[in-house]
Structure formats: structure tokens, C-alpha cells
């Protein structure tokens, strides 16, 4: 009986072990040994000898070896022990004192703690091994199944273990596995590096189809690369993946804003606080001066290029801030509504964040070159959620509501305003008296009757701001059958801005259908649509900054007409200031309808060869309405009067269609050689149609503001463009021994934007990777999960520029009431692609079972042949033509580190930190441009490469701020005399009030413009480093995510401080004016004395070095806390999952910047401009409360 049991036991053990493919030699020995024992037992059992059982024996042993005790017993009893000596290997020494016990009892006692049984057969005592007590016998079943990855591909090599036993198995090449004799109540555990372990209860099931989900941030996760996916561990390029869950549940409405601080090498700056507005995104620095510098977005395979849709309108209102700040004088009149508009509109606004499944940012040439001419600024690949096969329909719904407060300028109140001006008036009067000059009329009047400054106490900012309200509701349904899956969603967002009259609305949704027609043919359709509405300020904020707080907002029930107070022609409100409440009657609205649709066909021609075809369309229809009421002064470039309002309507329709075909050959030749080869072709066509019509003279400002009501029609404008891009591309990935990686990509792009001779651009790249952890010398280092070195180099290009730029164009017009065509653009048939050579070196690592992972990368990006309009000899009939004239280099280091500080069942704490530094430098600008100081030597206002308040010059960084140089306050008579002798303006008598306490500015010391105020570089906007820090805490059902973003070392031109640098006008100032200013009692102050004249800014009409401030900051960008309802509650409520959350954004910032927020950009599209805080829309602090359920 025993031997039968033993036999069974051993066979079972053996068969169990037999399943395990890995067997050591030791194991084999044990089996042979056991077999010997069985033979022995059989032999012993057959002997049938017996021994006396009735005699009594005594024995005493102290720590005596068992063999010695056995010999003693043999000696005392005359019995013979029979055993396999190996049995005694594990015996323990014996300590016992037994007196007068029968043999049976004695043996029982002696062998009590030994792994031995005994049996007395006649005179022989047979020793055998004590059987291991087998587990409680239950029904055992055979289990089989398949394991898939998140993309539905079979996963080989997954370990499947029966929990609590040593039983395990590993899936084969088809992802298939079998387990025999598994307890029907057992639990299976599936594990694979880079994937979340999965436990499943068997519960009597015999067949399992299991999908594993990758863990976040591990080197093995799947990342999207152009036209395919790859494992992160097999990448040779630099790709940052954004943790999508961490951007959900934040108050950020648009995807570009949500990317802030999320990825190394990706700098995100919120342009301003307009609802739904745009952010400036630079992936490893910008590369284009003329075109956009935003990355290329690929949304579910559909390409999307960010652009500024604003249609120039006749009705525009000037910005007093920009008026005072200098800027680009040729266009300052168009700076308010136009630039606010540009920042308020967002190409990506139609995308609902909750629909997003993954975001991968491709940064280096090895990754981006497959997108060739569109990839120099990086590529962001976004996929949206899809249904899963064999999933019963799930409905998920979410809602949140939020509140936002404007972070506004701090302005003088009425009392402070009066105090400041009275002090200024007194200073003015004293100075003029002492100098024997005629009295200043304004000073005399104010001192005689301070009520002339106004008697009201108005908080203009309070009048035009409000608590913004956000509401967002979204619902999605997903599910799938055996061969189809679907996902559909609908979302509605409504956001009222913190400024009156501004809001954003969005309805967006998508339908995604995946169909497996046959085992070889798949067809996917994807349609995303959105309707967005923007209502944008008419410059009310800028004007509110300047309106004196002493003025009543209304007079006789109507907005007070500006200027309400003035002292002669010179001392009044600055140009462009209007009553914000009058401006509020204006309209600036934009409606956008957009559709992203694609049809995707996939056919497996052979086992290893797959054909994919995608047809996609990106359509948008944009409508813009501007109306400037009759009560408001409009600035525009025509010569019309302002009677009766000016209105414009513009319409733009853009259709980008693509057809792309690829063939993918994926072959694993043997365990050492794996090749993936992709070839593809793509045809893209872009059609753009736009028109704008304007009229002026409307019967009223409220109801009859449609174009048909206008008395006079202005010349309408219309344009139509078409461009095409024909591309061929290939990529080969070769992996040798799973250690050495090689990627080669190439793309040729043929674009209608370039002349025939240079139409085709070639964009090759290569990347190599070396997985050190696979090498024998590191293979056994258990704490290294992954360690990879990668390097790449390659070319990419940009073509986000206008159409037809290389043609010599004729523009239609008319003369003598007859059509005329005039040459309007000098063509350049030698125009070339802007080309970027990017080199990249990086290390990716994952240590301690993925508890610490990250990457370090260094890159060098050299863009050459950057297009810019270059001056031409005017005898050509043109002043400029587009040429490849500049080179820009970007070099940088980026580090991303993440890890689980605490990884417990109940509590976890994860940190992700990224830090990047980018050095952007103009390496060449063709000789036709000169350094700013010499340009100014020939003409101080020449702006050939000076755009607004910025300048580009060879050998210097991008982002240089340009302006006058403040030299401090004149404190002594000697300084005054010297300054007067240097300043040409002073000598001409333009600065009669120059005296002690006046400001000094740098002047030219020689040249044609000796004595003129000098403009030069006064700051640099480029930060030394920037990045983000995300902390995620999970405790039981609670989760807390905190995102800090930071930027260090950059500067910003703070335009409102231009106004508060003196009392040159009656406009209100920010509280900087209260900073210590020079006076007899405060001679150490380095701000000029308060004085009622433009002397404080004279000559330096515009920005000066005194207005440039450090824009370093660290801010709590978002904080979000969520609570997942526990299972028992879910059951009670009948829902599958439920979560509630609260979050906040822009909660606080640590910064020395004097303005409300250092993270702003005046022009998010441009590389040259945009480093100005022009305070046209305040940023905001937001709080939301939301819930999310699924059924």
C-alpha cells in the first residue's frame, strides 16, 4: 500500500516537473534516487520476514548519530535494519532515554523526529522515507489558453504560475499555454516584464484568453512610432510617452496645455488665459522663422498641423499696452484683437482629452525622419480610445464643473492714483520753478484742484472680470464582439472666461469601429468631430489697465466717453485707451467645425507581410465675426472714418486629405535575427479657401450689425490655396540577438511649396541601440531590468509655410475701372527646404524591478537654410524676397527619471521628474542682415531682422529681447551735464524737463546717429532649464496627483511696466509705480522721480531694459485628488467603476516676476517673437469638481 502511494506520489511529482521546460541536473539525480528506493521497498515487502514485538528494551542516547543508535538497537534486539543509506542523509542526532519499552514504541519514539518510517517484518526492521503529506486532494483539471498584448498580438514567453505551488508554464510563440492538473479553485498568475502582473481565479474554467496591459513608464511598454508600434525596449530613437491618466481629471481643457511639464525636452508655455486658448509648444527648440514651430500632430493616423486661423479684419482696436511698449511699429495697430484672437484660437481645441488613449512625443531624427519634411519640430502621436474585442458594452460617463479666477495685474486704487499724481505734480512744479521755466499747466491745475483728477472710486478690473465657470460632460460607450469592436463618445464643454464677454464652447465626439472581416482582413473607421465657439475679448482688459480709477464707469447711464479728463493735448490718456465698458459692446466671435475622419484597411498578404491603407481627411470650417461699435475708436489700415461702427466677417475652409499605403514585412528568422521592414507611400493634398468682407456705418450697435446693414462696403478679400505632398518612405528595424538594434529610415517628400528644381527633399536617418542588460556580464545582475544606449542621426525638414511662395506672383487689382494684374511677389526658383540635421545620444534604464527608470538624452539639432524674407535691390521693383538665409542650432540635455518610492498593496508613491535645457542659437544670418547696433547706426528704426521687441543676430541666442538701455537715474549735476552733452534729443531741446531724478538711456557714441538713443539686446527669453515634477500618491481608494512645472533662467519683457515707469500720461499704473522712486528724501532709489511729463520715457518710447524681468518660476500647475468607490459600494449602486475628484490648476507660483504670471507668450506660433507679457488676457486659477462612472 505504502509503496503504491509512494509510487503515485513520485510519478505525480515527476509529471509535474516534466511540464517545466527548464530542468537542472540535481533534479534528474533525485528522480533516479527515488526510483532506486521504490525497487528497494518492493524488494523488502516481498521478503515477508517477521520479528518479535513483545520484548521490552531500554535505550539511552545523548546527541548520538542515528546510525549509532540503530546499531545499538540491532545489538540489543538482534533485529536487522534494512535501509538505503541515502535515507539517513537527513537524519538528526538523537537524544533520548527510553526505559522498558516494547520494540514498536521504542522505534516510534526514536524516529519521531526523523524523516523515516519503520516496518517490522520478522527480524527485519525496514526503514523508509516518511511520505510528504499530500495536499488535501481536490479535483484537478487541465487548463489551456492564449496570452495577448494590449494590441491584440500573441505574447510569447509569459510566465503562468499556479499561485501557492511551484507549478508554472511559459507561453509559446503563439502565446499559447497549457497547465495540467490544476486545482479547479486555484489562482493563476501571469507575469511578463513591463506588463502588469495579472491574477485570475480558475473557478473551474479550462480555457483562458488573457490580455496583459503594459505597466507605465517601463522600458518594455509599447510606443507608437510613425506608421507602426514598437516596444520601448527596441527603440533606437528618443520618444517620450505621456502618462495619460495623469492629465485626466485636471481642469485643462485642451491637450496642448495638458502637456506642460510632462515630457523632457518639451517646453510648454500657456499663451494667456483665454478660454480654450493656445499654448506654445517647442520640442527641443524651434527651427523655423517664417513657419510655425509647433510639432506635427498625428491623431489616429491623421496629420494635423497647428496654424493661426485668424482672418485679418478691418475692425480692430489698438492695444494701449503694445502702443506704449514699442513693438513692431508697422503693425502695432493690429496688435490687440488680432493677437488676442490668435492666442484664443486653438487648432487642437476640438480634441476631448478624455478620448485620448496614448500620447507619444517623437523627438529625435531616428523617430521623426519617417515624417520627413514635417518633422523638424518633433511629432506628437495621439491615439484615441478604441473598443476591445469580446468585451461587453461599457458605458462611461463623466461630469465636472469648475470655477476660475483671473490672476490680474495689481493696479492703483483711486486714493493711490491721486497720491501718485499729486506727488508728480508737486515735483513738476518745484522743478520748473527752480529752473525758471514756465509752469506745467497740468501740474498747476491738479495741485490747485485735486478733484480734477476725478472723484469716483472705480475698480475697473472688478467691473470687467468675473468668476469663470467651466462645465464638462462626456459620455462614451465601448464594447466588442468576436470580430468587431466599437468606441463612441460625445462631450460638451462650456467655459466662461474670467473676462466679461469671453467664452468657449465645444461639442466633440468620435465614433470608432474596428472590424475583422476575415482573419486576414481588418477594416477600421474612425471619425472625430467637433464644434467650437470662441468669444474673445475686444481689448477690454488692456484698456481697463489704463482707465483712471477716479473715473466713473457710466455717465448718464452710458459708458463714460474717453478721455474724460485731460490737460491739453499732451497730458491725457495714452493712445488707444477706451472705456472697457464701451468696448464690451464689440463682438469678436469665432466658430469652428472640424472633422477628422479615417478609413483604415489592413490585409495580411502572407504570414509576415501586411498591407495597410489609410484614407483620411482633416476638414475645418472657420467663421469669424468682428464688430467694433460706433462708440469705439477702431484702428485699421484704411482711411475710413469711424462713424457708425465697423464690422467684418471672415470664413475659412480647410481640407487636408491623405492617402497612405504601407507594406510591413515582419520576420523573425531565428532566435537571433529579427527584421521589420516597412515601405510606404503617401499623397497629401491641402485645400484652403478664405474670404473676408467688411463694412462700416451701421444703424445701431446692437441688432443691425450684420454685414448687410453697413452703409459702406470695404474691399473684400479672398484667397484660395492648394498644396500637395507626395512621399515615399521606408524603415528597417533589425534586431540581432535581441541585443543590438539598428533602425534605418528614409523619406522623400515632393512638395508643391517648392520650385521644381528643389521640389524633392530627402530625409534619411539611422539609429543604433545596444541593450547592455542582455550581455552576459550584466545578465546576472538582478537589479538591472533594462539598460540601453542608443544613438541616432538624421535629417528632417519643415514646410509649415505658405503656399506659392517661390512663384513670381501677380495680384489682381483694378485701375481706371478695369482689371489690372500687378507683379506682387518676387519669386525665388532656387528656394530650398529648410533642413535639420539632428544627432542624438541617449541612455534608457530601468532598475530594481522597474522601481527606478528613466532616460538621459543629449541632442544637437542644426537647422540650415531657414527661410526668411531677405532684402533685395529695390531696382528689381521689390524690396524683399523669400530666401534660405539663416541657420539655427539647438543643443540640449534632457533627463527624465521616474520611480516608485513606495510600492505597497495599499499605498504607493510615484515620482516622475523631468528636466531639460535647450540652447538655441542663430548660427548664421546671411550677410544682408547686420548686427543690431550697426543697423541702428544707419537707421535706428530699421527693422530688417528686428521684429517687435526681439532681434536675431548671428552667433547669439534665439529669443533676444531688444530695446533701449536704461542707465539709471541722474543723481548729480555732473551726470546731468554729461548726459545732456551726449543726448542728441537733449541738445535739440526735446527734453526740456531733463533734471536730477530723470532717467538716463544709452546713446550712440559715434556714427551717423551719434547721440540718438541706442537700442540693443536687453534680455534673453531662453530659460537655462525647465521641466516638470509629477507626484502620484495612491492610498487604498484615494489617488493624489500633483504636477509642478518650473522654468529657470529666462527673461520676459513685461510691457505694463513700461507704463508704470513714469507719469507720462494720465493712465492708471500698476503698483510698481509705488516702488521707491528718486526724490530729495530718497536719493538712493533707482527709479526716476515722479514727474508729470514724458521725460521719464522720452527718447525711449518703448521697451527698455528696466522692463525686462526674470521669468523663472516654479508653480503648482495642477493638483488632482480622486476617490474610487470601493466594490461594496459599487455593487450597491449597480455601477462597474465610479470615481469622484477635485482638482485645481495654476494654484500657486514661486517667482520674482513682478507681473501676475511669468508663464505667458505674446505670440505662441513664432520663434522670433512672443517673449513679451503684453497683458491682454489674464491667466487664471481654476478649481474643478467632477465624477466619473462606468456601467
Amino acid at each position: 500500500m505504502i509503496f503504491l502511494e509512494l509510487l503515485c506520489f513520485n510519478l505525480k511529482k515527476g509529471s509535474g516537473n516534466y511540464l517545466a521546460p527548464i530542468r537542472g541536473n540535481g533534479h534528474l539525480k533525485r528522480i533516479i534516487m527515488r526510483t532506486n528506493l521504490i525497487i528497494l521497498v518492493i524488494f523488502a515487502a516481498c521478503m515477508q520476514v517477521s520479528a518479535s514485538s513483545y520484548a521490552q528494551y531500554s535505550i539511552k542516547a545523548v546527541n548520538k548519530p542515528l546510525t549509532a543508535v540503530l546499531q545499538d538497537i540491532e545489538h540489543k534486539t538482534g533485529m536487522v535494519f534494512m535501509y538505503n543509506t541515502a535515507l539517513l542523509a537527513n537524519s538528526k542526532p538523537i537524544t533520548a532515554e527510553i526505559k522498558n519499552a516494547p520494540l514498536n514504541d521504542l522505534l516510534t519514539k526514536i524516529l519521531e523526529n526523523e524523516p523515516l518510517n519503520f516496518k517490522i517484518i520478522d527480524k527485519t526492521i525496514v526503514l523508509s522515507a516518511k511520505p510528504v503529506i499530500p495536499p488535501v486532494k481536490q479535483a484537478a483539471i487541465e487548463i489551456s489558453g492564449n496570452v495577448y498584448d494590449e494590441t491584440g498580438k500573441p505574447m510569447p514567453g509569459v510566465t503562468i504560475r499556479v499561485v501557492g505551488t511551484a507549478f508554472n508554464s511559459i507561453s509559446d510563440n503563439l502565446g499559447h499555454f497549457v497547465l495540467h492538473d490544476v486545482d479547479e479553485n486555484a489562482t493563476l498568475e501571469f507575469t511578463f516584464i513591463g506588463y502588469a502582473p495579472l491574477q485570475l481565479k480558475v473557478k473551474g474554467h479550462t480555457s483562458f484568453n488573457v490580455t496583459l496591459s503594459p505597466t507605465q513608464r517601463a522600458l518594455s511598454e509599447v510606443v507608437l512610432v510613425g506608421y507602426g508600434t514598437t516596444k520601448r525596449k527596441d527603440l533606437t530613437g528618443a520618444v517620450s510617452s505621456v502618462n495619460v491618466p495623469s492629465i485626466n481629471n485636471t481642469p485643462l481643457v485642451t491637450i496642448d496645455q495638458a502637456l506642460a511639464g510632462k515630457a523632457a525636452g518639451v517646453q510648454v508655455t500657456t499663451a494667456d488665459g483665454s478660454p480654450g486658448g493656445v499654448a506654445r509648444i517647442r520640442v527641443r527648440g524651434g527651427t523655423s522663422l517664417l513657419g510655425g514651430n509647433d510639432p506635427l500632430y498625428i491623431i489616429d493616423g491623421v496629420q494635423m498641423t497647428v496654424s493661426d486661423p485668424y482672418v485679418t479684419a478691418a475692425a480692430d482696436v489698438a492695444s494701449p499696452t503694445e502702443f506704449q511698449g514699442g513693438g513692431d511699429r508697422s503693425t502695432y495697430g493690429l496688435n490687440t484683437v488680432a493677437s488676442t484672437y490668435s492666442r484664443g484660437l486653438n487648432t487642437l481645441a476640438g480634441l476631448n482629452i478624455n478620448d485620448i488613449e496614448s500620447i507619444d512625443i517623437l523627438k529625435d531624427a531616428s523617430a521623426t525622419a519617417i515624417y520627413g519634411s514635417k518633422a523638424a519640430n518633433g511629432v506628437v502621436i495621439i491615439t484615441t480610445k478604441k473598443g476591445k474585442k469580446n468585451q461587453k458594452p461599457t458605458l462611461e460617463a463623466g461630469y465636472y464643473t469648475g470655477f476660475s479666477n483671473a490672476i490680474t495685474e495689481k493696479l492703483l486704487n483711486a486714493a493711490q492714483y491721486k497720491q501718485v499724481y499729486l506727488e508728480g505734480a508737486a515735483n513738476t512744479k518745484d522743478f520748473l520753478q527752480q529752473a525758471g521755466l514756465p509752469a506745467n499747466a497740468a501740474a498747476t491745475a491738479i495741485l490747485a484742484d485735486p478733484t480734477l483728477l476725478g472723484t469716483a472710486n472705480t475698480d475697473w478690473l472688478k467691473l470687467i472680470t468675473r468668476v469663470g465657470r467651466t462645465q464638462n460632460a462626456d459620455v462614451n460607450i465601448r464594447g466588442g464582439g468576436a470580430s468587431s469592436a466599437f468606441y463612441t463618445s460625445l462631450a460638451y464643454t462650456q467655459q466662461t472666461g474670467t473676462l466679461l464677454g469671453t467664452d468657449f464652447q465645444r461639442i466633440s465626439g468620435k465614433v470608432n469601429l474596428n472590424n475583422e472581416i476575415t482573419s486576414k482582413l481588418k477594416l477600421n473607421t474612425n471619425i472625430g468631430y467637433s464644434f467650437t465657439k470662441n468669444n474673445i475679448t475686444n481689448g477690454i482688459y488692456s484698456s481697463a489697465l489704463y482707465m483712471p480709477p477716479t473715473i466713473a464707469p457710466y455717465t448718464n447711464g452710458k459708458p463714460t466717453v474717453v478721455p474724460p479728463i485731460s490737460f491739453g493735448n499732451t497730458f491725457t490718456l495714452p493712445g488707444g485707451v477706451q472705456n472697457p465698458l464701451a468696448l464690451l459692446q464689440g463682438q469678436n466671435k469665432a466658430n469652428t467645425a472640424a472633422l477628422l475622419g479615417s478609413l483604415n484597411l489592413e490585409y495580411d498578404i502572407f504570414k509576415d507581410l501586411t498591407f495597410r491603407s489609410i484614407a483620411s481627411v482633416n476638414y475645418s470650417n472657420y467663421h469669424q465675426l468682428n464688430y467694433t461699435p460706433s462708440t469705439v475708436q477702431a484702428y485699421y489700415n484704411s482711411s475710413l472714418g469711424t462713424t457708425g461702427g465697423v464690422g467684418s466677417q471672415g470664413q475659412t475652409e480647410q481640407t487636408d486629405a491623405f492617402i497612405e499605403n504601407t507594406l510591413t514585412y515582419d520576420k523573425k528568422f531565428d532566435t537571433n535575427n529579427h527584421l521589420t521592414f516597412l515601405v510606404g507611400t503617401s499623397w497629401g493634398e491641402s485645400n484652403y479657401k478664405s474670404f473676408s468682407a467688411s463694412g462700416e456705418g451701421y444703424p445701431d450697435d446692437y441688432f443691425l450689425t450684420g454685414l448687410s446693414s453697413a452703409a459702406t462696403y470695404l474691399k473684400p478679400t479672398s484667397s484660395r490655396y492648394k498644396s500637395g505632398l507626395l512621399s515615399f518612405y521606408l524603415r528597417a528595424n533589425y534586431t540581432f540577438k535581441d541585443k543590438y538594434l539598428l533602425t534605418i529610415t528614409g523619406r522623400s517628400d515632393k512638395s508643391s511649396k517648392f520650385p521644381i528644381a528643389n521640389r524633392t527633399g530627402y530625409f534619411p536617418s539611422f539609429g543604433v541601440g545596444w541593450k547592455l542588460n542582455e550581455e552576459s556580464f550584466l545578465k546576472n545582475v538582478s537589479w538591472i531590468d533594462e539598460l540601453k544606449i542608443r544613438a541616432s542621426a538624421g535629417y528632417t525638414g519643415t514646410q509649415n509655410i505658405g503656399n506659392n511662395l517661390f512663384y513670381t506672383l501677380y495680384t489682381p487689382s483694378s485701375y481706371a475701372a478695369t482689371n489690372a494684374l500687378i507683379p506682387s511677389q518676387l519669386g525665388n526658383d532656387r528656394l530650398k527646404w529648410e533642413s535639420t540635421l539632428q544627432k542624438d545620444l541617449g541612455i534608457d534604464f530601468s532598475f530594481f524591478n522597474s522601481r527606478l527608470n528613466g532616460s538621459i538624452g543629449y541632442y544637437s539639432k542644426q537647422t540650415s537654410g531657414i527661410l526668411l524674407t531677405a532684402p533685395q535691390p529695390t531696382s528689381t521693383g521689390f524690396s524683399a524676397a523669400l530666401k534660405n538665409v539663416a541657420d539655427i542650432s539647438n543643443k540640449g540635455l534632457e533627463i527624465a527619471i521616474g520611480g516608485d518610492i513606495i510600492r505597497k498593496q495599499q499605498f504607493s508613491w510615484n515620482i516622475n521628474l523631468n528636466i531639460s535645457g535647450n540652447r538655441s542659437k542663430v548660427s548664421r544670418i546671411e550677410g544682408t542682415f547686420q548686427d543690431p547696433s550697426s543697423v541702428a547706426n544707419t537707421d535706428p528704426d530699421l527693422q530688417s531682422l528686428i521684429v517687435g521687441n526681439t532681434v536675431l543676430q548671428p552667433g547669439k541666442p534665439v529669443g533676444e529681447i531688444y530695446g533701449y538701455i536704461y542707465k539709471g537715474v541722474i543723481k548729480t549735476q555732473a551726470q546731468l551735464d554729461q548726459y545732456k552733452s551726449q543726448s542728441f534729443y537733449a541738445q535739440l531741446g526735446f527734453l526740456p524737463d531733463l533734471g536730477i531724478g530723470s532717467p538716463m538711456y544709452e546713446t550712440f557714441k559715434s556714427g551717423n546717429f551719434q547721440g540718438f538713443f541706442k537700442r540693443d539686446v536687453i534680455g534673453n527669453a531662453q530659460p537655462k532649464f525647465y521641466g516638470g515634477l509629477t507626484n502620484t500618491f495612491n492610498y487604498k481608494q484615494f489617488s493624489l496627483t500633483a504636477l509642478f512645472t518650473y522654468s529657470y533662467g529666462g527673461q520676459l519683457l513685461y510691457l505694463p511696466s513700461v507704463n508704470s515707469f513714469g507719469l507720462g500720461s494720465l493712465g492708471n499704473k500698476n503698483t510698481q509705480i509705488l516702488l521707491p522712486s528718486y526724490s530729495a528724501s530718497n536719493p538712493n532709489a533707482d527709479r526716476p522721480k515722479l514727474y508729470l511729463d514724458a521725460t521719464n520715457v522720452d527718447g525711449a518710447y518703448g521697451a527698455t531694459s528696466a522692463n525686462v524681468y526674470s521669468a523663472s518660476y516654479i508653480k503648482l500647475k495642477s493638483l488632482s485628488m480622486s476617490y474610487k468607490l470601493p466594490d461594496y459600494l459599487l455593487k450597491k449602486l449597480g455601477v462597474k467603476t465610479a470615481m469622484i475628484y477635485v482638482s485645481g490648476s495654476n494654484l500657486f507660483a514661486i517667482t520674482k516676476y513682478p507681473g501676475p504670471d511669468p508663464e505667458v507668450s505674446s505670440d505662441p506660433y513664432s520663434l522670433i517673437n512672443g517673449y513679451t507679457d503684453n497683458a491682454t488676457y489674464p491667466t487664471m486659477r481654476q478649481y474643478t469638481l467632477g465624477a466619473r462612472f462606468s456601467f
Binding site: 498578404i605 498591407f611 489700415n637 484704411s638 482711411s639 475710413l640 472714418g641 492617402i659 499605403n661 507611400t681 499623397w683 493634398e685 474691399k715 484667397s719 484660395r720 490655396y721 492648394k722 500637395g724 507626395l726 515632393k750 512638395s751 508643391s752 521644381i756 521640389r759 503656399n803 506659392n804 512663384y807 513670381t808 506672383l809 501677380y810 495680384t811 489682381p812 487689382s813 483694378s814 485701375y815 481706371a816 475701372a817 478695369t818 482689371n819 489690372a820 494684374l821 500687378i822 507683379p823 518676387l826 519669386g827 526658383d829 532656387r830 532684402p871 533685395q872 535691390p873 529695390t874 531696382s875 528689381t876 521693383g877 521689390f878 524690396s879 524676397a881 530666401k883 544682408t928 544707419t938
Partner: protein
Amino acid sequence: MAKKKLYLLLLSVVSVSILSSCNKQLNEPPADASTNLTAVSDERSAQIVLNGVYYRFANVNSNNVTDWTYHELSGGMLTGMLGYGAGAAVDEDNNNVGSSYVPPLWTDAYQMINAANGLISGVNKLPATAFTGSRKNQMLAEAQFLRAYADFKILMFFSEWNDLNSKNGVVLRTQLATIDNGQQARSTVAESYNAILSDLDFAIKNGPTTNPNYYMNRWAAMVLKMRVLMCRAQTGDYAQVRSLADSVMQNSPYTLEPNLKDIFYTKGLSSNEVILGTKPQAGQENSYYILSRAYYPGASAIFCCKQAFKDLLANDPRRSWMVGDTLQFNPTPNTNYFTKFIPNGTSPTQVSETCYAMRLTEVYLLKAEAILRSGGNIADAKTLIKTVMSKAGVTDFSAVNNANDTNSLLLQNYYEVLRNLTGEDGLEWMTLMRFPLSTIRQLRSTITSKVQLYFPVPLSELNYNKLFGSQNTGYSL
């Protein structure tokens, strides 16, 4: 397997055909823009492009108004007749380096030249049979006339026009500008004259005989040729001027306007005296930034006449309407509204916005000057001058009658040019410059050097046209 191969083959065929059609589409010219390759395709489109050259001639600006400010003001300011109302312009002191009213002529002229070259190369690509009758040559003649007009402006203002041996002439452009041909050397003065005259000879031979007077005809080409020859002043040139004048006076349909004032105040281009002018755009008179509004009431700019002009008209009936009230706002001393084109106290009209490039009066006075300069009959010259004066309502001819030598009569001729043609197309400045420097100095004390008779070439040309050559003698910019 065979089926799969068939699919692959089919796929390849479809792909290749799609790709070739894509390629074709890439090479298509822009759909909604006209390029140098497509602008001129037939007679009608050629006419439209030609009208574009006239658009440049009339200098229609971004406000969609014809802007002849620099044509009208440059001559008047340089001769001391006209000025800026709110602080004198440096041009009034013959400070050519700081001039603001002459440099824009450079750009305007070259825009016109480029437009003309575009038309010429476009038309030349089409066969004569593509045009009705002799329209091909007529169009070429019109374009060449306009090119000659612009080249002559460059010659007279930015070249050493009065020295036929000078190498500092005009950059003679004959091709539509490209990025490559932008680099081109200036021609000599002699070559410049020849090129202009050659264009004009073609225009005289082939130009239309009749045309609305905001377009050119053969008579206009003859008048321009007279101007050119008068300035070149080589052997036989004066005789040619006289014979051209005779031809225009005897054979052309033009007659002197019986009452000079009617041209500017009521008739405009409908006057039978106007050989060539600019036609204001529709509604232009309502615009704010227009020239006649800058004369009266003085809007975005204020141009006025100066004491010298007032004095010159002291006993002339023209004073009553050409010289208006004293300037009201921030006046430059001794200035009055210049009301030649717009009556005092009125609003701009289409007529006030009309500009005059050529009037028959000029032909009379050029002929008189040619007679005098070539030693002709003084009495003939006097008759010509007096005829012109009589149309202005002058009855007292004593000054002309009393001038009995060539030089004093040349002066009388100049004075009549000033009285009659000031503020039109720089004719007064050209007439002044044809005097010897000593006379010029007497007439304009601010001119002390021959160098002041031409202007420096704009830096925008010198900096970016590396082949240009040297700056005009006497200027170091």
C-alpha cells in the same frame, strides 16, 4: 498564391497611376494666383497686365488711391515753390541726403519698370496672330513708353544725367525680375539715354494713335522724347525737339485749354489739353489719405506754397486761385494753401484727385526753350510763351516782351514753367536744372554744387545689388 500575385500586380498598377497623377498635380501652377508664367496668355490677359503697368504709373497705393505725392511735390520743393506746412522739409533746402520726397520715386519707377518688363516678355512669347490687328506692337509700344518714362525719372533724379561721359547712369532692367537677375550693374549715362530713346522711338512708331488720356499714345511718346532730348542737349537734339513739338502742335488732336483754371477745377482729364494723366480710383475722393486733402484743408499731411511762389504770381491772375489762405494750423512761416488743384474751402473731388503728367502747354514751352537754346528766332519763342500765358488769363506780357536776349527769355520761359506747371510732374525742376550752375545758384541760393542736381542712389540698392557699381559722384552714403 497566383491570386495573391495578381492582387499585388493590380495594386502596383493602381499605385503607379495614382502617383503619376499626383506628380502632375504637384507641378500645376497655383489655382488662385497668377504667376509670371500664366499672367499673359492671350490678348485679353495681356491687356489686364498692361493695365497693371498703368496702375504702377498712377501709383495706386495700399489705400487704393492714386498717389502722385512724389511726382507733384519733388519738383515744387526743389525749386522752392512748394513746401511742407508743419515745419519745412529738408527737400526745400536742396538737402539731397536727407530728402524724403525724392527717394520714393526710385521704388515707384522700378515697380513700373518691372511691371512693363513682365508685359513685354509675356507678349513677346505670343505670336502676332494672337492679337487683333497691330495690337501686339501697340501693347509693346505702351509698355516701352512706360518703361522709358520710369527710366527717365531714375536718370533725372538718381544719375549724373548732365554728364554724358559719366558711367553713373541707370540700372537698365529689361527682364522681369528674378532672384538672380537682381544683381545688375548700372549703365553709363549715354547708354541710359540711348535705351530710353530707343524705347520711345518704338513707342512713337507703334503706339496707338488714340487712347483715353490716362493711357499713352504716340503723341505722349513724342512729348516724353522732347523732355529726354532737351536734357541730353546734344547736337541735333534741340532741332528734334522743335520738330517733335511741331508735329504734336499741328497734327495731334490736343488744343490748349482756353482757361487754365478749368483744367484743374472742372475738367480734369476731359480737358482737351491733357495728353496724359492719372485717373483717380472710384470713390478715392472720400478717402482720408489723399493728396488733394493734404493741400486743403491739410489732413494727414499738409503741403503748401511758399513765399517765392506767391511772389512769382504777384501780378498774375493765377494767384487768386492757385494761392489760398494762410495756413491755419502750426504754420511754417510765409506759407499759404496751394490751391492749384483744389479750391479753397472745398472738399476733394475726382477732378481734384486727378494728376497731370503731360499737357500741351509743356510742348509750347519746351519748343520755346529749344528755339532759344539752339539760337532760333526769339520772336517765335516769345509767341509760344505768351500764347500759353494768355490761356492763364494773363494780359500783361511786358516781362516777356522786354526780354530781348536768349538768357533773359530763357528765364521768362522758366518763370512760366513755374507758374503754369509747378506741382505736376517735376517739370519745373528739370527746367531749372538745364541752366548753367551759375544761373541756378542765382535762382536757388540753396544750390551751391552740381552734385545737388542729382540724388544719392538709395542704400537699399547699394547694399543689396553687389554689381551696382559706384555711388553717384559727391555722395559718400
